[in-house]
């Protein structure tokens, strides 16, 4: 058996990084979708909806993610619907991040001044026209940096999926597999850190480019 770090190990880690990326993208999209509707619903005038969905958000944000993974996976098994850990991991991550996204979306909607919305409604726009053409574009620019931050956090949180032994292994799990054989934990974990950094940097870079292109920073609401 070969006890040294080989090119194959590097490929294995790259594959893990790819899985991390897939986990982030898929749960990021699903979670943003769910969170968008929850945040939107909470912006409505109904106090009941506001508080009921508030409970959902509170629970999600209060229970550690690692517990949510285990509980959800076990629950599905007990309920008679055992799920592939990878899939249940994506679902758990999606629900988890949706709680945070919902809060950011609500803040974005509330960041649009009431007067600006009165202006569009005053021109005869319907509620939906105002929401789509005024609230979403203005709110989106206001929350884009916070949302990017959530996605970076989500990427790092995907590593917790390892507790369920999900396959294919994501970046941290694949690093551990290599460590078990090579016994160079510090070096390999350092390498994994570099992978995470590069991926996060990529997201941050793209987000910044996007902001520059769309004048988000220079745009003030007056």
């Amino acid at each position: 058996m070969n006890y040294s770090f080989t090119l194959n190990d590097l490929l294995f880690m790259s594959q893990g990084a790819l899985i991390t990326f897939v986990l982030t993208i898929s749960s990021g999209i699903i979670g943003t979708f769910i969170g968008f509707f929850i945040g939107w619903a909470r912006s409505s005038s109904s106090k009941i909806i506001f508080y009921l969905l508030g409970i959902y958000i509170d629970i999600i944000r209060s229970v550690p993610l690692i517990l949510q993974f285990v509980l959800f996976n076990s629950f599905m098994a007990i309920a008679g619907y055992p799920m592939d850990p990878f899939l249940s991991g994506i679902l758990t991550l999606s629900v988890y991040i949706s709680g945070y996204v919902a809060e950011v979306i609500l803040a974005g909607i509330n960041s649009v001044p009431k007067v600006t919305r009165n202006s569009s409604r005053g021109l005869g726009m319907t509620y939906l026209q105002d929401f789509i053409f005024i609230v979403i574009p203005i709110g989106f620019k206001n929350i884009f940096p916070s949302w990017t931050g959530l996605m970076l956090g989500l990427m790092k949180d995907t590593s917790l999926i390892a507790v369920m032994g999900a396959t294919p292994p994501e970046l941290l799990r694949s690093s551990q597999i290599i460590i078990n054989r090579v016994h160079e934990p510090i070096l390999i974990l350092l390498g994994a850190g570099v992978f995470y950094y590069v991926m996060c940097y990529l997201i941050t870079y793209l987000a910044e480019k996007y902001e520059e292109k769309n004048h988000i920073k220079s745009m003030e609401i007056r």
């Binding site: 009165n118 005869g124 745009m219």
Partner: protein, 240 residues
Amino acid sequence: MIKIKDVHKSYGDLKVLDGIDLEVNNGEVVCLVGASGSGKSTLLLCVNALEGIDKGEVLVDEISVHDKNTNQNELRKKLGIVFQQFNTFPHLTALNNVSLALKLVLKMSKKESNDLAEEHLIKVGLKEKLNHYPSELSGGQQQRLAIARALAMSPSYLLLDEITSALDPELVGEVLDTLRMLADEGMTMIVVTHEIPFAREVANRVAFFHEGKIHEIGSPKDLISNPKKIRTKEFLSKIL
């Protein structure tokens, strides 16, 4: 014609409008003056149904504004409204600020709406600013943009809510000039304002608001130069 009949409105325990009666004829300019919190701005929001009312009735061209069966989106096409600030859509150029509602509400084609938007922006003196964003405009230009946007919808009435109050003094004149132009063209307007000299010059009638009521109403000559009631006198002596 706008008829406001015995309109009451409260926010919780706070009584904002306490029985307002006012009729505004076509072609008339009515200025509403009074201290902050006396209900002037709320009344404007009630006229185009951006706020509900507790009691009474508002009729615009004989259509009851707050009736359940009234299509308020349809009604608002007739009633242009401009506020003190935060009017403009910061993510859209001046041209698109004006053309958006033309496309969405009046279902105009892209070309039609852009041509009409351009025409109205030129009219308020923003020919050079068509493709500028609101953040690149001065406060006075932003207010003129908001006026152009309201006018492009060809409203029958214009509701103006302290549209010069947030402006630097040197920018107030250009916005008031635009209003003078509109008054000369016969636009029906309800103008909430603190610009008493402007009210004296342009208004057909001036109403003084006090604690949710119209305390005194009359021609600018009577109300501003010879107020009969003591509250009106006090208010005017403070502001003039």
